[in-house]
Symmetry: C2
Subunit: 134 residues, 2 copies
DNA sequence: TACATAGTGTTATATTATAACAATTTAAAT
DNA sequence: ATTTAAATTGTTATAATATAACACTATGTA
């Protein structure tokens, strides 16, 4: 018996906004998204934020908290939408989702001083990307 | 020869705002800080944000990015103000700064797929605190 | 069909953060 | 002590990010 994975059929607004973010080479901000989808009939911030909330919830996109911006998940098969890690270039703002079994294993197994474990986390690394180091 | 640590004498506004955050049992938001220091003559958001920026820069406080809130550094001797880790209770919003030599060592030594290391990072763990687990 | 759930459209508003500019304080450097 | 540069302050205005409230519509399912 196969483990089923709930398929989330995106609604019209969700699909429009996901497509935009997914084809963007960089994280997009909510009002930039709004501007870009107005021609498709999405006119108000709330329509954007609602779609973003849902897309984040189902793991299709992630929020880069330090930038208030949204990026498509780069691990299409990622089961752990709630355990995310990114590298962020402080020069050019390039953001890359880190997919490291070792890292996620380490963090998932990490115990704090009271022995508490956390399956949900967000990690943002900062530095200079390859290009910007020159 | 002792390694000297630059002493940052706080200015009046910085001290007022640091004291407030430092005695708060929970992270404080900028406009809540503003409200609380108005009686001391700090009347405008910019005055608060400027002090916050400086306090973050020198490591006296940290920003909890997922909450847009500020907390006093709980590692007074922390040399690595730019390498932070927190646990956040999703029920009661209690935030604790994690001070783990193992964790910081692991993250500082972590290499991404291109062999890149990052000395600066921010990690936020989410879960239920001891109290909220009951 | 009837019901519940999720999504939509809309207006208004709340919250978080910065721009721009003049004045003042502070800490060197001469 | 005087000059100078850097940092900080005070102030007004505005930008950027995000949510509340409400009426309505689509969708799945019992
Ligand atoms: Zn992902
Ligand atoms: Zn770069
Ligand atoms: Zn700290
Ligand atoms: Zn709690």
């Amino acid at each position: 018996m196969k483990t089923m994975h709930k398929e989330h059929t995106l609604t019209k607004n969700q699909q429009i906004i996901f497509d935009l973010i997914d084809k963007s080479p960089e994280p997009m901000k909510a009002y930039s998204i709004l501007f870009n989808v107005q021609k498709k009939g999405i006119k108000a911030p709330l329509q954007v934020y609602r779609a973003l909330d849902k897309l984040v919830e189902i793991g299709k996109i992630h929020k880069i908290e330090s930038r208030n911006a949204f990026i498509a998940c780069q691990n299409s098969s990622c089961q752990v939408a709630k355990a995310t890690a990114f590298s962020i270039c402080e020069m050019c703002e390039k953001v890359t989702e880190i997919s490291s079994a070792g890292l996620s294993k380490y963090l998932t197994n990490f115990k704090d001083k009271e022995g508490m474990k956390y399956s949900k986390y967000n990690l943002e690394f900062f530095g200079l990307c390859k290009k910007c180091r020159t």
